[in-house]
Symmetry: C2
Subunit: 350 residues, 2 copies
DNA sequence: CAAAACAACGTTAGCGTTAACGTTGAGGAG
DNA sequence: CTCCTCAACGTTAACGCTAACGTTGTTTTG
């Protein structure tokens, strides 16, 4: 049996620790810690020298050790359905600025509209002991709600609206938005509505908007809103709207006189389909988008759509969550107002 | 002086630790650790019981403690310029799937095209001891390169191409891509090129493409590529392309006969501007995009553009990075090929 | 049937950092 | 000159987890 060498701790040059900095500076680790965090208790001379030495040694503090010691972190996790949607990008930019200024780091992930993915993400995230969690929408697996509540983690649900959020909620009332735009279309004389959106169940906001549309058209339309729910798969929203309306225009069924789309991109795709079929918009058919994305401003014809306060929503949500983290209790749930934008894809007032 | 109560450890019900689970299960903490991680050394009976107890106690492992103990993590940090660009979304989706399958978590952040933001992000990220780092492009502050190399962190630069990457690089040669599409336009008879992109310096890929265009047109054009570099600010790419071409069409200067855009969105904006001005595309002017985004497929006229292998790039980059993490050394740098897509916005072969 | 092999655990000792408290020496008040 | 105060440090003991090694009882093997 050969004698093993003792475990010499220098197998490979490891990253510098706070003690290494301390040794070089001839002080204790605690002093280095104080110097680097900028707290009291270190003379200016020493602090400057310690900082110099730290950079020279390429010292990078270990956040794992820090978070373990202080039993919290400044991480905020954000869950989005997808990156491929300008809506969420707008909400994000509103939130992130606010958090950065408050000294919090954000980690973002997407669920691709799968609830089980969201649950797995929540569990992984919680293992990092985040300061707060942000979820998109108000529909989550029961375990998500349980875990977050049990862990007493400040939680924000954004974009949707709920009377009984997990913790906090800032968004818009999608059913009310659907009813609002629907009512306006009723006023303009439309009577045969259709809706082009996501497959049922995938995006519950879409379902809510249809509910609202049906409320608006209940008294005047002969039949409920005709729903088209193409599979999205990997096609872009443009293509989905385009394909859906193409399919509609090629059937023998009675055509709707107004088509509501899940979002502006789909509506644009639909507009292209109408053009291809020689259908005149808005005379033969009205088209309505959702969100009032800036894209709509360059189209040859401006799109009728609904303006959603995405950036404002992000900022308000972030501010309330910060308040929550700091112990004060903000209003639990708020629905922000939306606004109808009438463009050239629906006929003017009769 | 009043006597203080001793620090009773139950000030507030804290989250369950591994020891709490162990106590309830009547085993040691180590056994719980083994059971939860699924490693050998625990009987199936005990493992099942421990799992039950852990969920009942709402136990969530503390990743900070784990990472500290094992001195590594399964985090991979990804830095993107922005979310508001389908290009990066495609690259992302290619990478993330690969990493998820390999058991790594990704944390994503955006720099908004600011190098100092990138540096700050790298420093924050390194403090979490990530398994690897991914940066977009090949232009970074020198400190970024130093820190990553000093820390021996596996690093991938993606989207651009460099002969001397920080560590690994997978992307496309933007200068070559510019030359490729430029040469094709020369063949088609175009002689007065213009380029609409980002402000100089903001996006160096744009500068490289202009370099390539100039190489292609050097022998036939009377003057170098006319460059338009509108400020982007918060306008969408659609609007930027639209505004830039509007401005161009309203000056008295000699018009270019072909306009290259930074990306497809801008090209579409440009197309809308031409339409508004009654300019016939491709007879009066050719328009060329970049990336071959799916959006281009729904336009009434298909866009001439350059297909970039974004998803493939993400996958290849991720695979090489994984290999790197596991100790094998993949090729340091690869430029993937791009492909010219000729559509209806440039004239056909004479 | 003793020795070796093995499964199934438990113990010890860190990982790098910081909160809480202790120590030191210089300067000021009385 | 003594006592007190205070700035500027140092010491100790966690934080929650796991690698490495030790221990026990049960099989297997020659």
């Amino acid at each position: 049996m050969t004698l093993e060498y003792p475990q010499t701790r220098s197998r490979r040059r490891k990253a510098a620790r706070i003690e290494d900095v301390a040794a070089v500076a001839g002080v204790s680790a605690m002093t280095v810690s104080r110097a680097l965090r900028g707290v009291d208790g270190v003379s200016e001379r020493k602090r400057a020298e310690i900082l110099r030495i730290a950079t020279r040694l390429n010292y990078v503090p270990n956040s794992n050790a820090r978070s373990l010691a202080v039993a919290n972190s400044n991480l905020i996790g954000i869950s989005l359905p997808t990156f491929a949607n300008d809506v969420f990008a707008d909400i994000l930019s509103g939130m992130r600025g606010t958090f950065e200024n408050a000294g919090f780091s954000t980690v973002i992930d997407t669920t691709e509209y799968r609830e089980t993915t969201e649950l797995a993400w929540v569990e992984r995230l919680l293992s990092w002991r985040p300061a707060a969690v942000i979820l998109t929408g108000i529909d989550h697996l029961p375990q998500v709600r349980e875990r977050l509540r049990a862990g007493r983690v400040p939680t924000l649900e954004i974009w949707g609206h709920s009377e009984d959020p997990i913790d906090l909620c800032v968004g818009i009332d999608h059913a009310a938005a659907g009813e609002l735009i629907g009512s306006r279309m009723v006023e303009l004389g439309y009577r045969a509505p259709a809706f082009v959106g996501a497959p049922a169940g995938r995006d519950t906001r879409a379902d809510l908007r249809v509910t609202g549309l049906n409320r608006a058209f209940a008294d005047v339309a002969e039949m409920p809103v005709q729903e088209l729910r193409p599979a999205l798969d990997d096609a872009s929203a443009f293509e989905v709207g385009f394909a859906a309306l193409n399919a509609l225009l090629e059937t023998d069924r009675a055509l709707p006189d107004v088509v509501f789309f899940l979002n502006d991109h789909m509506a644009f795709g639909g507009l292209m389909a109408c053009e291809r079929h020689g259908l005149s918009v808005p005379m033969d058919m009205g088209l309505v988008g959702f969100n009032a994305l800036p894209m709509t401003r360059v189209l040859p014809v401006s799109l009728t759509t609904v303006r959603t306060p995405r950036t404002q929503m992000g900022i308000m949500g972030a501010q309330r969550l910060l308040a929550r983290i700091h112990g004060v209790t903000p209003p639990r749930s708020t629905a922000l107002p939306v606004q109808v934008i009438e463009g050239g894809t629906t006929r003017p007032q009769a």
